[in-house]
């Protein structure tokens, strides 16, 4: 019994540590009280450099003030993303979920006065990436991609955009 207790405590400690490492911003500045909706299964990591050079998209760590805006759980974000792409459970089995502050430096509207506004600028969001797919190019050419990502607004659950580059 004593051994089991030690194992249990060690396991819980490892989980807490893993969460703290994977989402460093969550534990910064005593912000842990504001993250009831983020659960295990999502972590922060920057997007590949090619995502920025090719598409203008990037992901940074959530800051303290952004944590309170997260209302969507990881499983909800994943479900929304899977539904958006119309993937079966088998097709969606190879998935990674990142959470962070999402910016798309290219996707922008311009109003009549010529003022440019980014559609997603430091937006708390999940980036749900499905791998192992076979995605045909929209121009009908021979190009194929194997990954597709869905950006889900972490506050509203709305899909912000879909992108693919590899």
């Amino acid at each position: 019994m004593k051994r089991k207790g030690i194992v249990l405590v060690t396991t819980i400690g490892a989980m807490v540590l893993a969460l703290a490492v994977s989402i460093p911003a969550l534990t910064a500045g005593g912000a842990t009280r504001q993250r009831p909706r983020i659960s295990a299964g999502a972590s922060y990591a920057p997007l590949p450099a090619a995502a920025y050079t090719g598409l203008g998209v990037s992901l940074n760590p959530l800051q303290g003030s952004q944590l309170a805006t997260v209302q969507v759980t990881v499983s909800e974000a994943r479900s929304v993303a899977q539904e958006r792409l119309g993937l079966t459970n088998a097709e969606a089995s190879n998935v990674t979920v990142l959470v962070g502050s999402f910016t798309d430096d290219e996707y922008a509207t311009t109003d009549a006065a010529g003022v440019k506004e980014l559609v997603a600028d430091d937006l708390p969001a999940y980036v749900v990436t499905f791998s192992g797919l076979s995605i045909a190019a929209a121009n009908g050419g021979p190009g194929r991609n194997t990954q597709e990502s869905v950006v889900v607004d972490a506050a509203s659950g709305e899909v912000v955009e879909v992108f693919s580059f590899q």
Partner: protein
């Protein structure tokens, strides 16, 4: 009284009840049976031929019509404008709207590829607005890239390379509807067609937008149930599923 009703339920009633319950999954499974109506998996273009003019800008208003899909795993229906490197040897940059399997509506998209093979860059934004928004590709001589614009003024994507350093000329224009399964509908129906209008190009640096020339329209796969017709040669045409 309720006890009595339960007690006298005859075997036939039980059978009817079970049958009605069993019918639910049978009906629910019918969409997979519908995949048989998807025909063959092949890419079909419905629109202009690849133009021969060297262009730096291509535009068109395109009527938003959410196409019906047959439900195959690669179901795809889209309408777009494009600039591409010469004779298909180069890459391409395009924008328009697209509906893929699983989507309930059509979304604005842009896509480019430095070469006409390998990985491509794809981005999809908001739902395509009703009406006939403007889509265009424009080469920026100063920045050395092609910008892909949707809904008149929303920049969606920019190439991460300078086509002038990669593609050979002429860069040619194209306007098309496209499906990836012969059972998928092309955007537009006989009674509500999808119009490509205000078709314009620029052919030189600093030159004004002009009507393209020398275009023809056709369906790349004549065996399909798609139609295309000029409304005004070189300037406006429409596509539909018959």
């Amino acid at each position: 009284m309720p006890r009595k009703r339960r007690a006298i339920m005859p075997p036939l009633a039980v059978f009817v009840l079970l049958s009605s319950v069993m019918a639910v999954p049978i009906i629910w499974l019918s969409p997979s049976a519908g995949a048989a109506s998807c025909g063959t998996a092949e890419v079909t273009f419905d629109g202009t031929n690849v133009g021969s003019q060297n262009v730096y800008y291509v535009q068109s208003n395109i009527t938003t019509n959410v196409p019906t899909l047959c439900g195959a795993s690669n179901s795809h229906s889209s309408a777009w404008t494009m600039i591409q490197g010469s004779a298909g040897s180069g890459g391409y940059a395009q924008s328009g709207y697209i509906r893929l399997k699983g989507y309930s509506t059509a979304h604005m998209f842009a896509e480019y590829n430095e070469y006409n093979s390998g990985s491509f860059h794809f981005k999809e934004g908001a739902a395509a607005p009703s009406g006939a928004p403007l889509y265009y590709e424009s080469y920026d001589f100063s920045a050395g890239d092609i910008q892909m614009v949707v809904d008149t003024s929303t920049l969606l994507l920019t190439t991460d390379f300078d086509p002038e350093l990669v593609w050979t000329t002429p860069w040619v224009p194209e306007w098309e509807g496209e499906t990836h399964h012969t059972g998928d509908n092309m955007p537009g129906t006989a009674s509500a067609r999808t119009y490509f209008s205000s078709m314009l190009v620029t052919t030189s640096r600093g030159g004004g937008a002009v009507t393209p020339s020398g275009l023809t329209v056709s369906v790349s796969n004549p065996g399909t149930n798609y139609g295309v017709a000029w409304d005004t040669v070189d300037s406006k045409f429409d596509i539909w599923t018959k």
